[in-house]
Every structure is written in structure tokens, then in C-alpha cells.
Amino acid sequence: MTYLAKPKFHHPSLPKNAIGFTRRDYEASTSTLCAGCGHDSISAAIIEACFELAIEPHRVAKISGIGCSSKTPDYFLGASHGFNSVHGRMPSVLTGANLANRDLIYLGVSGDGDSASIGLGQFAHSMRRGVNMTYIVENNGVYGLTKGQFSATADRGSKSKKGVVNTDNAIDLVAMALQLGASFVARSFSGDKGQLVPIIKAAIEHGGAALIDVISPCIAFNNHPGSTKSLDYVRAHNEAVNRLDVLLGREPITVDYAPGEVVSVTQHDGSVLRLRKLNDDYDPRDRLAAMDFLQQQAAEGQIVTGLLFIDPDAEDLHANLNTVRAPLNQLGDAALCPGSAALDKINASLR
């Protein structure tokens, strides 16, 4: 935490994006998290991703639950919409908002406690329904805000700061999302923005339920030697399967890649994802193989990161429910409330 406001000055060469904003225009109020918290790095990555995508801040809705992680929407995209909801209830608030207005970009920001403990049911249903959103879990293996109790993602056998061993099995939200039909599933690390920023960009461009599980060390309560969510542990066990680059529209492909096969995936909205394989056998378009690979690596104590699965042709909840195209706030009274004759007609059809 810091009491100093960030000065308005910026580097003279600070670039502007297509809509004339600098990265600094995507910032918000000063973070009150502990100094060094991984969540602050994720906020910085979200800022960078939105800047690079030249997103208009007022087109974004940030929705969160409760926790240090869920506080972070206050620290990025100050000009966006936001709803800091109830513990574990981010997915339903987001789903409702999305159904009411599909024109906004939905950023669901949650923690491992928020999503894997109290909110596990909500998490599961938003995934299986295919809500078009970027669901970011800032995963530190503890309840940071309530002073560091193990969360449901803490690995069995890992130790608390006081040395207590966790005897419960861990929930892997990535594995669950794959099983529940999410169409974009990734894992990354707060300490590797080179990997994280393109993944966030790709998820925002994705037209279905996108989960990003970001390992985000809690500096205050879970960054000690017995932890499997510490900076050192994650760096030592990080098994990245690919590196990603996101190209928008007709941007020329100029990126120079180091050796490794490059796979291009074109998403529904025309954005092209270029994936340089770090693991030649890994194909992010194969859900079953992904689930398999993940389990194997987990058994060996490795943390798999990268874009793990993508269905570029995903359809979302609106398509499944055949909802009206226009946001509800743009419909007139007559359309929103068609009257008793219309109701009678519906009732009759159900008899």
C-alpha cells in the first residue's frame, strides 16, 4: 500500500493507441493492496491489454466479488463501469448484466476463495452456460483479505505461513472449466506479463466463456518456502506450453518468432491468435488432450501455463437462448412489455 498518489507526469515517449489514449489513461485510483501483491501486477496487465486493444473504457464492465483480488477493479480502468458484488456472486451478477446488455465487454475479476470456495457453484454455471466474458481468477491459494487461511486451490501438502500442512485436496479451476465446456481456458502467472498480457487480449476478443487462472502470489501470507503459490515456486515449476501474440483485424504479421512451430487461430471477431509452440505435442484445440496433459503434469508437480484450450468458433449464451440483439436499455416500452395479449399467446403455446 502506498499513500502517495502517482504523479501525473509520464515518460516523454509514452505511446498513444488508435483512439488517442496512453496506457496511463487506463489507470484508476491508487492501489491499497500490500506492496508487492501479485494482484497489482495483474491490474497492470489488464491496463496494458486494454490499452493495446484500444478499448474505449466506457465499453467495459468490471464485476467482482469479495477479496483482495475482487478489490482490484478499483485500481484499473477508472472510466469503466463496475460492480463490486457479494462474496462468490460475481458470476451471476455478470451473467445478468450480460443478458441485459451484450454490447459491453465483461471483465469478471475474482479470487480463488471467491470462485473456488463460496462461489464454486456460480463459477461452474457461468462456465457451462458460455457467458461471453473474461473471467480472471487471481489465484494465490489463500484468503488474503481475511489474513491467509488456505483456500480451496491450495495444494495438498503445501504449508501455511505458520507451517501448518494443508490436508485437503486442491480444486483446479482450469480442469473444471475444461470439463464444464468453457471455450477459452488459460493459465498464467502474475510475474510474467509477457505471457499474461496477450492472453488477456485474446480472452477479451474471444466470443464465449473465457477463464484465465492467474497464479498471483500473496506476498503477505503465501510467499514462503512451503508454499506452492510463491514467486520462487511458480518460477521453478512453470511449464509454459506456448507463447501467444494477438493480431487485430488486418494488422500485418511482423512478429519474429524464436524457433518452434507457429499455429494461427482466427477467432469469430477476426482477431488472429498466433501461438508459438513451446511443447511440440501440445495442441490447444484438443480439449480431451488438454485435460489429459494437465493431469499428468500436475501429478509431476508442474504448473502448466499458456493458452491451454480454445474453441475459436464458440457460441455464447445469447446465441443459445436466441435473445434479442439489442441491449434492453435500447428497447422501447412496447417491446419490453408487450402486454397481456402477448402473454396470453405464450401461455397458450405452453398448454
Binding site: 502517482k6 504523479p7 507526469f9 509520464h10 506492496a35 508487492g36 501486477s41 514467486l231
Partner: protein, 593 residues
């Protein structure tokens, strides 16, 4: 790239842009903080130690520190460093008790100083308290050199010169006023152990064009005329005056003329307005007093009638640049211009002259008539004789004369202690953490955009009515506080400790200026390109540290760091800390030996 050695005094010294640029290396941010705290006497003493003439320099310094100031790079205008120095001088208490005392015991060594300008007086100030017998000779009756005779009183009142030259002479320095040295040989024969030549660059250049001789009565050499004005030998000038030349002397000439009856005063320069040698603020001051500057005009002839000057004819020129970007003035091919006038002041340059130094005294001179001296020690080819100030390398300014004075004093002190003068003393350096608590720092680190405050001026009519009325009134305490708040505390350094760093990126994320990058090591040129913001200002160093767990390096571009301390405040492990760097140049005395 080689990791940065922050223990080398130059590294952090360079980061304090103003102190590095100051020829005397005055600890600027330290005195600015003291001014902000209302501790004017303390601020004055820091200045007095470094630059000897804070009240004089606070009004007249050429201020090389200001173009170097970091505020220029992050905002636009420099901190008003110079005028804050004046604040310290204006509002200090009586500091006489804090000055060194005349030496109780003399050390038996005698030093002759030729000229009572800032160069000689600085040498005397440094040496007299150590026990040296210092004898200052000057043809003039009062001390100060050109500060006294050239700089107009409306920029620098006599009272300020009296006070600050007095502090030096009161250290037991013998001042032989009104006694010009006519022979170096004779001086050496008096058995001095060392001689300092601080006689300045006393000769004003003339302009040898047709009509010069015929109209001589109304054509004056600028610096001679200014001296006559200063001595009250000249009290009037014609109604229409042309000043030839574009340097600071020209600005002083035209502004003086405006006060002595010149109603239609114009400055005419050969070059373009932008390339004029005068400082921008002097040009502004002239403009404020209604003095136009005509450029690209080369004087061709003084016109006269009946032995009296009638005007000056100029040829119009334009600037042309060759392939190497060198400027040449070529005829513009337009008709000549003629300006009518009653008097002309020629301010086209200044030269050295050493008619009193015989060429067989062991002091070698080069083809240009300049003494052959060591650039650092200022020792001439006669090891007893040292040159300082304008006499050493041609006309410069007061602060350079002071800087030379300090170096010459060190050389003399070493020389007369049988030490190698070429072996120069290291500066005294301290580096101290400024952390007072979790969120408490000992300096004001809230950095805000804040434009430079203007110094109040005397009303134009009143200023022009009296040549002795000081034009600038100086900051009042409130303005001084506001201006002092613009200082970025560049001496409070970001100090990094790799063993403590856990590479959490907190500092990278929070830094408003994108100064900090963790990346793979590389050669400097390559590294500069790979930073969060490319480091294109090659005059500013990269701070590189290795020894991180991931094998990467921390690279910080010092260029536009605000010294806001956010990196240190956000660092969970204290790997970043804000340390105050204080550097004092070694002066003559036991510490330099």
C-alpha cells in the same frame, strides 16, 4: 553490460543534474530544501562554501545548472535555481559568526594574487584561513573585478558586492587596492611562494570599418564605457543609440543606455536572433525595456558629417548551412540598411591581454597569446604561477572563475606541501537512507506539474529613471516556497539491492515514468532499446544491477526519474530505498593533501 558501481562518486553526482552542471558543484537540491524549510542562513552557508558569492551569483550567475535541470525534461522550465540562491542571501540572518576566522597562526607561505575579481578572491578565501599570507593587488580601488566594474548596478547593487567581497577580505587577506602590477618579474622578485594571475580578460574588441576614426568621439568600446558608467565618469549618452553585438555585454550596454538618456536604443546583431550569445533572460529583459533587436545585419560603415557620427550602414545577410551543418552568413542580395544614431556602443567581444607579464619569466604563451597551463591544476609552465578565471582560458563567467579559484587553491596548497599537484583529491560523499517510517520520507516526494514562478520586477518607468535601481525585486518568502517545491530532489537517489529483490514487479508497475525494467542482460546499446521506455538520452546513464534469482538484470534509466520514491514505497522487501547523496568538492586544506 557492466553492473553500475554506485560507490563511484561520479555516478550519483551525474544524476543530480544541476550540481553536476554547476562548475563549482554546488549541492543545489540540499539548499533548495533548506529554503523551503525557511532555513535561509543554512542555505546561504552551503552556497558560500561552494560558490563564495551567493548574493552576487543569485542575481547574475550564467546558471549552467538551469538548462540541465530535470524539470526541463519532465515538464518544460527549469527550477529557478539561481533566483532561489538570492532568496537565501536576501533573507539570511547575520552569518558573520559562521564564517572562518582569520588564521591565528600563519604558515609562513606568501601568495600574491593579481586582480581582485572572483577568481583571486576565491583562492584567497580558501587559503587565508589555512594560514597563508594572501596579498591581493588590483589597479581599482574596490574589490570585485568585473563584477564591480562591468555588471550594471541595476542588476547587481554595490552593497551586495561590498558584503561578499568583504567576507573574503575580512579573513585576514591583505588588499593592495589601487596598485596595478606592472611587472611579473618584479612581483616574483618579491619572493612570493606562489602567484595567482586573476587579471581577467580586460580588452574589448574594436570594429575597424570605414568611419571608425572620423566618428571616434561617439563610438565607444562597450566594456570600457560600462566601466566609466560604473565609476560615474559617464552620466549621459545621446538620444539615439545603436549597440553592436549580441552577447551579454551588448545587453548591459543597451539597458544602461536606456537609463542615461537613450530613448531610441536598438541592438543590431550579425547573426540570427536565436543564435545570439546573450542568455534568453537577458534578451527578455531588454525587450521588456522597449529595446528592439535587429538581426542578420553586418556593420559596413560608420557614417558621419562634419566630424560627427550620423549613423551606421549595414549589409543584409542570411544564414546558409553547409553539408556539415556549419553556418555561414552570406549577402542576402538586398539593399543596405542605414540607421541614424548619435552614439554607438561596440560590444563585439572581449580579449585577454598580459602586457605586464614579461615573456622571459618561465611562463610560456601559445600562438594566440594565451598562457600554456594545465587544464586541471591551472599551473603554468612556471610552477609557482597559476592562472584562474577569465585569465586562464579566455572570458567565461563568475561561477567558472570561482571554480578555477578552488582548483588553483588546491594546487597551491599541495604544491607548497611538496605534493604532486596532478593527484587530485576525491570529493566527500555521503549516502543516507531517507526512510522515516513505512510511509514516511524525510523529503517532500509528492511531485506535481507546476510551472515556474516569475520573479517580481520593479515597474519599468521607475527602473528606467534610476540606473542604480535594482530591476529584479527577488522572490518573497511565499513565492520562494512555491518555487522551491518544484525541485525534484534529484539528490535523493534510488538505491537498489539485488539480494533483497524478489522480482515481484511492483516497482515496474508503479513507476510513473517507466524507468525500471527487469530483462535479460545485453550490451548497453541493445539494452537501451529493450527497456519499458527506450532510453534515448545518451547523456543520462543506465543503472544496471545483476545478481537476481532469475538471472535477469535490473536496468533503470536515470533520464526522467522523478525521485518520487514510489518504487521504494511499493517494494515489499526494501530492495529499493531512497538515499540522500551529498557531495562536497574537496577544497584546499588537510583533506586535499
Amino acid at each position: 553490460m557492466t553492473p553500475t558501481d554506485i560507490a563511484a562518486p561520479d555516478y550519483f553526482h551525474k544524476v543530480v543534474d544541476c550540481q553536476w552542471a554547476c562548475p563549482a558543484h554546488t549541492p543545489v537540491p540540499e539548499y533548495i530544501r533548506l529554503i523551503a524549510a525557511g532555513r535561509y542562513s543554512d542555505a546561504y552557508m552551503i552556497n558560500w562554501r561552494s560558490n563564495v558569492f551567493p548574493g552576487i551569483l543569485g542575481r547574475t550567475c550564467d546558471r549552467p545548472c538551469e538548462p540541465a535541470c530535470r524539470r526541463v525534461r519532465v515538464e518544460e522550465e527549469a527550477v529557478a535555481i539561481c533566483r532561489l540562491k538570492r532568496v537565501a542571501a536576501d533573507y539570511k540572518d547575520d552569518i558573520k559568526g559562521r564564517l572562518p576566522k582569520p588564521a591565528a597562526v600563519k604558515n609562513g607561505k606568501r601568495v600574491a594574487l593579481v586582480g581582485a575579481g572572483p577568481a583571486s578572491l576565491t583562492v584567497a578565501r580558501d587559503l587565508a584561513p589555512l594560514g597563508y599570507t594572501c596579498v591581493v593587488f588590483d589597479g581599482d580601488t574596490r574589490a570585485g573585478g568585473m563584477m564591480r566594474t562591468q555588471i550594471p548596478k541595476f542588476r547587481l547593487p554595490d552593497s551586495v558586492i561590498d558584503e561578499e567581497t568583504g567576507y573574503v577580505l575580512d579573513l585576514g587577506v591583505e588588499f593592495r587596492s589601487g596598485s596595478r602590477v606592472d611587472s611579473m618579474k618584479a612581483l616574483l622578485a618579491e619572493g612570493f611562494d606562489a602567484v595567482v594571475v586573476g587579471c581577467g580578460a580586460p580588452r574589448g574588441r574594436d570594429l575597424d570599418i570605414p568611419g571608425r576614426r572620423e566618428a571616434a568621439d561617439n563610438i565607444h568600446i562597450g566594456i570600457e564605457w560600462l566601466a566609466s558608467v560604473s565609476f560615474n565618469h559617464v552620466e549621459r549618452i545621446g538620444r539615439r543609440v545603436i549597440v553592436l553585438g549580441g552577447g551579454n555585454t551588448a545587453m548591459d550596454c543597451c539597458r544602461s543606455a536606456r537609463r542615461l538618456g537613450g530613448e531610441d536604443v536598438k541592438v543590431v546583431v550579425r547573426s540570427g536572433f536565436e543564435e545570439m550569445k546573450a542568455s534568453p533572460w537577458e534578451k527578455e529583459d531588454a525587450a521588456r525595456e522597449g529595446i528592439p533587436i535587429h538581426n542578420f545585419l553586418v556593420p559596413k560603415e560608420f557614417t558621419h558629417a562634419g566630424g560627427k557620427l550620423t549613423g551606421v550602414t549595414f549589409e543584409k545577410v542570411k544564414a546558409e548551412y553547409d553539408a556539415k551543418g556549419r553556418r555561414k552568413l552570406v549577402p542576402a542580395g538586398e539593399p543596405d540598411v542605414h540607421f541614424e544614431c548619435d552614439d554607438v556602443l561596440v560590444a563585439v567581444g572581449q580579449e585577454n591581454a598580459f602586457p605586464w607579464i614579461e615573456r622571459d619569466t618561465g611562463i610560456a604563451f601559445d600562438a594566440h597569446g594565451m598562457p600554456v597551463i594545465d587544464k586541471v591544476t591551472l599551473q603554468s609552465t612556471n610552477p609557482k604561477v597559476f592562472f584562474a578565471g577569465d585569465a586562464a582560458f579566455g572570458p567565461k563567467n563568475i561561477i567558472w572563475a570561482v571554480a578555477h579559484g578552488h582548483e588553483a587553491a588546491v594546487s597551491i596548497d599541495k604544491w607548497l606541501h611538496n605534493e604532486d599537484v596532478a593527484h587530485r583529491p576525491q570529493p566527500a560523499v555521503t549516502l543516507v537512507s531517507q526512510k522515516m517510517g513505512i510511509h514516511e520520507w524525510s523529503y517532500k516526494n509528492e511531485v506535481m506539474p507546476d510551472e515556474r514562478y516569475a520573479v517580481p520586477h520593479r515597474d519599468n518607468a521607475a527602473a528606467l529613471a534610476d540606473i542604480a535601481a535594482e530591476v529584479e525585486l527577488g522572490f518573497d518568502a511565499k513565492l520562494a516556497l512555491a518555487e522551491a517545491g518544484r525541485c525534484l530532489n534529484c539528490d535523493v537517489q534510488t538505491v537498489f539491492s539485488a539480494p533483497l529483490c524478489i522480482e515481484c514487479d511492483a516497482c515496474v508497475d508503479v513507476c510513473p515514468m517507466d524507468c525500471i525494467t527487469f530483462t535479460q542482460d545485453g550490451e548497453e546499446a541493445d539494452l537501451r532499446q529493450r527497456l519499458r521506455a527506450p532510453a534515448t538520452n545518451l547523456a543520462q546513464d543506465l543503472y544496471v544491477a545483476d545478481g537476481l534469482k532469475t538471472g535477469r538484470v535490473m536496468a533503470k534509466d536515470e533520464d526522467v526519474c522523478l525521485h518520487c520514491g514510489l518504487c521504494a514505497e511499493r517494494c515489499p522487501t526494501g530492495a529499493w530505498d531512497m538515499n540522500k547523496f551529498y557531495l562536497e568538492v574537496a577544497q584546499a586544506g588537510p583533506a586535499c593533501r
